[in-house]
Symmetry: C2
Subunit: 260 residues, 2 copies
């Protein structure tokens, strides 16, 4: 569901979409189950898309796969979505996290959107010494994640976690989970080589990127002393953190994830 | 130079930057050469950054490497930049083009910025059947390219070309240049495999991405019949064109470009 879309500028009805509008819902999905959309979903279906009884949507909840559902009991402000056919079995994205220091030039919602599209499972904002952006609207970021999951055909929504500081991130990081450290200092091996040298582990992966000014020297040291850290370089030019994060996620998916 | 920055909100002087502000200039760079900045650069240096005689910047022009230069003859509205020391020899980015259909959700300037950071040499907007965004400000896009080149440490600015239509793009495309076709239809081999199977050619590379609704079936057919086209898949989820383009550029740099 395109969040915040108050007006349907394209003038398309729900029927025009071919039943392809996807909604993330909380309730259990099974044959003939009735799901009551939340108020903003109901507003979107009824007021924005002018949906009528019998129109179709797709539903997913992160557990029960994807279902085609039919609108029923439609009034001007409420409806029930009746599950009809299971269209896909539940499938998780690869076990890839993104821990990122937010940056001024890119809204947090854009990070969330792009990382969700790139198949990230957990999104962890990190506050570092040089992080300028310290206020984040986590509820808004979670809404961005749901919207991006709905539109990218994912069957799950990434877990957007509350911000943490770098020391806590490193302490809490699971020992068997590899942390790809985009090291702007440039002494690290090239990313494809670094990923190629590591045998597929069973502990999953994560990518860590820093703020505008990079990590402070003592932060770099603290990161690099952990054995789960895989420092990588992303070439000879200066790569802003957001571009570096997206490139690293894509490269990981192509070499180690489900783009293979 | 951060374009459009009228006020120096950080309150830093040019001296505070450690002489690291980079400016793209037109004139030839050599020892003791004097460069007159253009009016917007002069405004940035003098009014925004409060530069004084003796302050330092870096200059590049896409031909003569990077030079440290010193401000001289500084008045309230003009100055001369005197080349002092050559800091880097001229180096080109890898021979990678991006041909992209603009999309509504991402401003053209953001495409240009990210692709410049990812080391693209030529940026070619393409109008396809389903392209909704048909008006582009090429001069503004060129300014975005200069700004991103200045900030990413590049020694050249990518060539932002005037929009073309898909048929003209395919006709004019050099026969020996590989075109990575991000094919949303999903029948193509995974990108890492497709790139791995191709011997390094001498004709360079390009990435082609489509508009919101993808390429029309007859467009896909027209693209795929060219022998320079390398169809690739970017995984099982629906990838919006802008995210797909950035991922493909990063993957190419990691596997075939100068991130190796």
């Amino acid at each position: 569901m395109p969040s915040g879309e108050e007006r349907n500028y394209d003038g398309r009805t729900l029927a025009d979409t071919g039943g392809k509008v996807r909604l993330f819902v909380a309730g259990a999905l099974s044959a003939a189950a009735g799901i009551v959309p939340n108020p903003s979903q109901a507003h979107y279906l009824l007021q924005v898309m002018g949906a009528k009884d019998g129109d179709r949507v797709r539903l997913f909840n992160g557990r029960d796969g994807e279902w085609a559902a039919r609108l029923a009991q439609t009034t001007w402000q409420s409806c029930t979505l009746i599950c009809e056919t299971k269209m896909a079995v539940q499938k998780e994205v690869p076990d890839l996290w993104l821990a990122f220091a937010p940056v001024k030039r890119t809204p947090a919602g854009t990070w969330i959107q792009k990382a969700t599209e790139l198949g990230v499972r957990v999104l962890q904002p990190v506050i570092t010494q040089r992080t300028v952006v310290r206020r984040m609207n986590i509820e808004h970021m979670r809404a961005n994640a749901i919207e991006a999951a709905e539109q990218s055909g994912r069957l799950s929504v990434p877990d957007v976690r509350a911000p943490t500081d770098l020391a806590s991130l490193l302490t809490a990081w699971p020992a068997r989970r590899r942390m790809i450290f985009c090291d702007e200092a440039g002494e690290a091996p090239p990313i494809a080589q670094a990923l190629g040298e590591i045998k597929a582990g069973r502990g999953g992966w994560g990518v860590l990127t820093g703020p505008e000014g990079g990590f402070a020297p003592q932060e770099r040291e603290a990161i690099r002393k952990h054995s789960f850290v895989v420092p990588v370089s992303l070439g000879p030019r200066i790569m802003p953190a957001d571009t570096a994060a997206l490139a690293a996620l894509g490269i990981w998916q192509a070499l180690c994830g489900d783009w293979r």
